[in-house]
Structure formats: C-alpha cells, structure tokens
C-alpha cells in the first residue's frame, strides 16, 4: 500500500437519548413523535468509529477521513456545529430520512452510492468504518451490506481495537460472547470495521478545528444529493415501546458497589 489509509466513516444522527421517544403513525408509516424537531446527536456507535478513524489518521501519515452521512440535511448541519469541532474530516451528505423505520438494504445502497461518488478515494487504501449497531435503527446489518456492495470481503464486527502492526498488517479485537474478544489479523486495506465502543473518549470541542472543517462541510451540505430511502415493500404491523417503562432516577452520594447491588436486586425482580 502506498500512503496512508482512506477511511470512510458511515454515521448519521439519532434523537438525543434524553428525549422522550414516542412512536406514532405518520403519513408514510411509523415515525417518532416530533422527531424532526427533537435535538439530535451523532449515533453513538458511529461516533466511536469516527473518533477511532480520526485517531488512526493522525497516527498514520498521509491518511484521510470522510464522514458519509445519510440524514435530513438541516439536522446534519446542526450536528456539524459540534461534531465538526471534534475531529477533522471531509463530509459527504446524502439528504434523506434518518429515522428508525428505513430498510437497511436501501440505506446501504445509498451509502455505497455516496462512497462510490467520492472523488479521489483510493479503494486499495479504503477502510470502511461504521457502527456495529445504532441507537435508533439497530438493524445490525447495514455496514456488512455497504461492504458487500463495495466489494469488500474482509469484514469485522463489534470491533473494539485496531492496531497497525510493524509490517503494516492490522490486528483487530472483535467482541464475542462472554466478554471475550476474537483476535484477527488482516493484511491491510480494503476492509470494513463495524465498531463497538472502541477505546477513545469523545474528543472535546475545539472551534478552531470546526472552522477548518467548515470550509468543506458547508459546500458538502449545499450539494447534498437527495437520497429518498424508505422501506419499500415493508409494512409494519405495529410499533410500540418496550414494555418495561423507562424510569430515570438520579442518585447522588451512592457508592459504585451500592449502585451495582441495587441493579442486581432489580434484575432479580
């Protein structure tokens, strides 16, 4: 491989997890009440992927990061005001719905199309990053489908760690059952990594980074292609919240042990 990695991160918005999420029947099928108006955050798993990508790009010279986002343009723009301050990337926007009721196959096709359209992307250096899961969709298959459509056969799911070894090969830790990791080695790009949480904290905001990113972010938003993904052919029989009611309790002055004990007791019923 010549030069560093070309890392493409797929990630979009989800409603801020503190918001009340109430399913409703919208004009085009199920939706969340007031979804467009609720504040949104970067899907947490995609966030981990983005921060890992930026970190990798920082450590491997001549690497570059793209963030490919399928979501409502205006919401993405708002999100960029914080995300674009955290790490450097070039944004590719696909203007479409980002709710939890789209079909992953359609979403994957749109994302693959977006990636295919990136000028200057070197497929031989491509690392396709994304979340192994999502806080709203959580189909658990989107990244694999994108990879398949891009012809990337090396796929790793639930990744928590990526190490570039001295010979340039990649060592990967994937989550498997029982709190264990499966360790794999891959000779190099191209590969797809669907991240679990990774190991990095959320980078702090830095408006100076943001201002630099903005030079490309705003034009990207302006020339966003419409991507009217949906769930053609799928009919939802019903959508409801999990039976267990969400109860947010805020406790202070309780030791970790005590908190753990309470949770165990609660789980035991």
């Amino acid at each position: 491989m010549n030069g560093g990695f070309h890392i493409v991160v797929c990630g979009s918005i989800v409603p801020d997890p503190l918001q009340t999420l109430a399913p409703i029947e919208g004009p085009t099928g199920p939706a969340l009440k007031n979804e467009l108006m609720l504040p949104a955050v970067l899907d947490p798993w995609a966030g981990h992927a983005l921060y890992e990508a930026a970190n990798l790009a920082k450590n491997v010279p001549d690497s570059k990061v793209w963030l490919v986002s399928l979501g409502p343009k205006a919401k993405l723009q708002q999100l960029m005001m914080s995300i674009a301050q955290k790490v450097s990337f070039e944004l590719v926007v696909l203007d479409g719905p980002a709710g939890g009721f789209t079909d992953p196959c359609e979403v994957a096709a749109a994302l693959a199309g977006g990636i295919n359209g990136i000028a200057g992307l070197d497929r031989s250096r491509l690392l396709l990053f994304g979340g192994c899961s999502s806080a709203s969709r959580d189909a658990g298959v989107t990244m694999q489908m994108v990879a398949e459509q891009l012809g990337i056969g090396d796929q790793f799911l639930g990744v928590d760690e990526l190490t570039i070894q001295a010979d340039g090969s990649m060592k990967l830790l994937e989550r498997i059952e029982g709190g264990q990791y499966q360790v794999s080695t891959c000779t190099g790009a191209p590969a797809m990594l669907a991240w679990a949480t990774g190991n990095l904290p959320e980078p702090p905001n830095n408006p100076q980074i943001g201002m630099m990113n903005m030079r490309t972010v705003m034009p990207a938003l302006q020339k966003a292609q419409p991507a009217p993904v949906g769930a053609a052919g799928v009919s939802y029989l019903g959508v409801e919240l999990p039976k267990q009611r969400r109860e947010t309790r805020i406790v202070k002055d309780l030791s970790v042990d005590e908190v753990a004990r309470e949770i165990v007791e609660w789980l035991k019923g």
């Binding site: 801020d16 009340t20 005001m81 301050q85 702090p204 408006p207 943001g210 201002m211 805020i250 202070k252």
Partner: protein, 699 residues
Amino acid sequence: MDSSSSENRGTELMSTLPGDDVRQIMWRFAERYEVQMVVQSARSLARGVVARLVAEGARNTHEWNDKKGQLLKGFDELGLTSVFMDPEEGGFIAGPKNLVLALMAFELSWVDGGAATCSLASNLALSPIHEKGTPEQRLTYMSRCVPPLPGEDRKIWRGAFALTEPLPYVGVDTGILSGRMRVAEWEEGQEPLLQVEKRGRFITNMGFANFVTAAVDSDDPRIKGSAMVILEEDDPGVFDRGATTLKLVHQLSSTSDPILSLKVPASRIIGGYTIKDGVIIPNCNHGDVIESVFRRTRVPVAVMSSAKLLSAIEPVIRYQRTRFRGGSASSAGSPRYDLGLQQKEDALQRLVDVWAAGEAGAALGFAAARLFDEFDPIEREKDKLLIERGITGSRAQMKMFKEVEKSALEFVALEHQPAAERDMARYQELAADTLVQYLVKESQANVLCPACKLWNTGHGATMMREAVSLMGGYGITEDCPGFLTQKWTDAQLEATYEGPEAVQRRQLSITMTNELFLAQFRLWIKDLYAIATQRPGTGANALANAMELWLWTLEFLQKSKDAEGKALYHSQRHGVVFPFADALCWLLASRQQILDLLELEEKGPENPVVASGLAGFVNFFSDLCHVQAARSAGEAGRICAELVYGYQRDLAAINADDTEFAALRHKADVSMAGARLFKDRAAAAVSKVMIPEALDYPI
C-alpha cells in the same frame, strides 16, 4: 383590539421546547457558523465540567482552588479563552465579538453564573487594552492571553480588572479614585518609571491573575489626571492578591481585595501618553476607558440573568408534571398522574410569566450585543476620522457632533420612509457618512446597554425567585434540579457588579432624553402600530399605546413643576427619573421580543426543521409577547400615573394635562383586551409541550 388573531393562525400548540434552530433565527446567528460552534463548545463545558463542579459542592467554598481551576483549563481547551482575540492575536473569529461573547455567557450561566463571570472577567481585564490600548499593548497582552498552541511552551496569562476600591472610595461613583501613581524615576531621554499604588475591593480573577488593569489617579504634578495602567505579577514591589471575598454567590469565580504597590514603566499607561512641558499626559483618562469598556461588557451580564430564567423552564415543568407520581392517589394515565401540578392554573401561568420575562430579556440583551457588533467598526472609523480632521478635545467634538446631529435626524426620518418615496441620493449619502451612522447607533447603544443591564438583572432576579417558588421546598435546596436557588441569589450580583442598578438608571435618565433617540422611539411606535394591524396577537398595540403614554409623560415631566414649584425632570431627582427609566426598560424589552418573533415567523419557513413546528412556535412566542406586552404596558402606565399625579396636591394645576393623560392611559389600558386569553393559551401549551426525560446536566 387584539382578540381575533388566534383564529387567523390556527390553534396549533408548541410541541417541543425551542431548539438551536429556533434560537439561531430569533437571535440572528443562523448564518454564523463560527458563533454556533462557540455556543456548542460553551454548552459542552457548562453541562459537563461546570455542572459537575456545582453538583459536587464546589460552590461551597470562597477560596479559589485547583478544582475550580478546571474551569480555566476547560475555557482554554474548548477555545473559549480565545474567542475574545482577533485572528492576528491568536484568536479565530474576526470582527466584533459582542454577540458571540453574549451567547457564550448565556450558555455558561444556563448552568452557573459564576462560571460565566470567570470567563468574562479575563476579557474585562483585557477590555481597557482592547478598547483604548496602543497597538503594541493590544498585541502583547491579547497574544499572551491566548492558550499555547500544541508544541508551544509558554505561560498563558490571565487578567483582573481593578476599579472598585476599599470603602470609602470607588463604588458606584467612579470619579474619585484613591489609587495613585507618581513618577518614581525619570532619567533624561529615558522612559519614566511610575510608582503605582492601588488597593482593590471585590476584584474578580484576583486569585490567579498574572496582570491587573488598574484605575489610578495622579499623585504627582508631573503626571496629569487619571489613567488605567497595566500591572504585572513580576513587577518590582508588592503584588498581594489580598483577602478572599466572603461572597455567597458566583462561587465559581475568584474574588479578593488585592494590595498592589509596584514600579512600572510609563509605557504601561493604557492608550499611551504624551509629554508636554515635562508633564506626562495620559492619552486616555480612566473615565474614558471605563466608559467604553463597560458599555460593552455589561451586555453579556444582562444576558446571563435571562439565560437563567429560560434554563428554569424545563426543570420546573418536570417537577410540576411528576409531582404526584408514585403515590396511591394517582394512577398512571390519570390527569393527576400525567399533569401533576400543571392541573392548576396558577402554576402554569406563573411559569408563563417567568418564560415571557426570560424571552424579553434575552431579546433585549442580544439586540444590544448585535448593535455593538455594528457599532464597533463605526466607532473605530469615527476615531480615525476625528484624528485625521484634527478634532481633539471634548468641546471641539461636541460642537462638531451638534452639527452632525441634524443630518442624523434627517437620516432617521428618511430611513423610515417607504423606499419609493424617499430622496434616495440623500439617503445613500447619509448612510455612507460615518459620523451620522456613529451618532445614530450611539444614541441607541447608550440606551439599550443600560436598559438591558438594569432590567434583565433586576427584574430577572425577581422572576428567578418566582421560578424558585414554583418548585416549592425543593426549590430552595442545594440539589434542586437546575440549581435554581443558586441562580436566584447569583442574579443579585449580576444586578450589582459592573455598575449596580443606580448606575444604569443614572445613565438612562440622561441618554433616554437624547433627541436622536427619541426621534427613533417615535418611529418605533409607528412601526408597532403597523405590526399591530398585521399581527394583532402580539400585543404590539398595547405596547405602542404604552410607549406613546411614556413619551407624553416625558414631555410633561420636562415642562412641569411639582406642588412646591420644583422642576420634575432633573437628573438628581431620582424619585422621578429612576422609575421613569425603569418604565422605558419594560417597553424596550417587550418591543425587542416582538421583533424577534417576527424574525422567526419570516425566516422560519426557510429551515425545514423549524418549518415543521413553526406554527406552534409562532403561536406560543406570540402569546408570550402578548403576556409581556400587557405587563409592560401595565408597569409603564402605573409608573407614569404615579409621576404625573404623585407630585401634585391640587389636580386643578394640571387640568388640561390630566385630560390628555387620562385619555392616553385609558387607550393603553383597553388595548390589553384579550391579553389574558393569550396567557391561557400559552399556559395550555406549557402543559402539553414535550420535554426530555431528564435534565442534560448533573444535579
């Protein structure tokens, strides 16, 4: 009469709390991405580090300590320290920064006012240098205060601003200083060395400041007048940070009473100096410096108090709704369970009052900040022009501006004419005239700044108490979500520092009678009547009538005498001019609130996110405008009535005036028709609006 509008705009209620997209339009920074980023940055610090500090009890100590020091690190790392600087000094935002600093203060004080003070105080220290310093002074100190870039090894400087002195010296009255400067050494052809003595009281940032900008007077015939000087911690002499102030508010800022006795080169005089006949003449006296500093720095303080009112809404709604959950008397799905205290009309309506006051204050504060963003470059341009034309000295300037005022009045009149009817050539000529524009903007700034500092903080503190009371006993505990009691008591400092209410009222009593301001005020009334016809639900009619009443009362007060034959309108007659200034503030805040609503209504459809909920937002904010306009008209009417009648023993003395006043007052009163119905609808929206599951910062 204002009762038909609810049908016109549908009955849609606001469905969520207003988010960033809505605020960006209302406060006019939808196109300014750098500003939006600073907002996000400040918010992440406020709802992270700052909220944790408060939740962990960091406010329970007076002293500055390492834990509180995390704040400074946060400001540096998140880019907030360098917001104040220009790019050539190491900052990243070019141009005026009043709006962005106000927004930063808004975000920080949403959680804790002290954190906002701490961030603003460094800028306050730099402001004398920024406003009046020599180019070298500016570059030196501004760059030193920028956090080191990665790979750079240098200390970051922080400053304190020392004007206030131990009793009996400088407080409200800043004219007479006890701080002194003398010539310590002055060798032929060399820079003079000054011995500076300054004792400060209640000086913010003093626990860690590396430099102080201090106001001092001459104690030496070889120095003329007063100045502000820069004192550094390593200067020879005493740099004693002094006793910590035992304040009970804003504990995330550092305050103490420093003792400074230092020898410094005369080049530390802010703005430089000239030597004439063996006497050092500072180019700027301390009065000039602080005037240009305070008129900018007071605006973010005003915004702080309003931010706190708006921050109280969500925790109060949550408390009200969940008040009866879990008990045997209410089962899930019952109104008592779902609505809790929001079943009660008073609980909802008082929250509407808090919300309306927060909106009006924010509207006024941000309008003032934007005005200064426009004013800054014009003022600099004016300074340059005056130097070029050799117009120095206040008398020469006054004479010249007297002439320019005529053109400024002409410009104001032309600006309010329909474009098709106005003399375009003349209009463009005046629009391009720096001095005309300077006067027009200055006349507004001289009113809006003291008005927002006075009203937002003073009335804000009262309304913050209302917010506390809506939480019952929980409101006055340390772990009340949203830190409401802390915000309430903090508001008293916001009303006090950088000039307490008396200072603002004193300034207003002079600036609000400026003919150029009044000319604009009259046109604003006309505009509001026009708004009232098109958008009757906003309360614009009540407001316009109250403004007319205020204007009439001003003329009455200026021409009339009291029962003892003493003139009524006199700057020393605080009993007249101070409440009259208060009345104006109510009106100005309400007006700006309506203008922000119109902006949202006009620009909202351009943003698909806002558009999806626009009808509900417009209805709700319109109702809040109406609630506030009715209250403002009421306050203004009451004050005007007290001033018109309160100084007379025999009404026959003002017979004709009485008739006129009564007619105007009646007009203002009846224009409140429908106002309470709008309040009912606002209350209904508050009972239905969706709120998040939990507060997004620790408690």
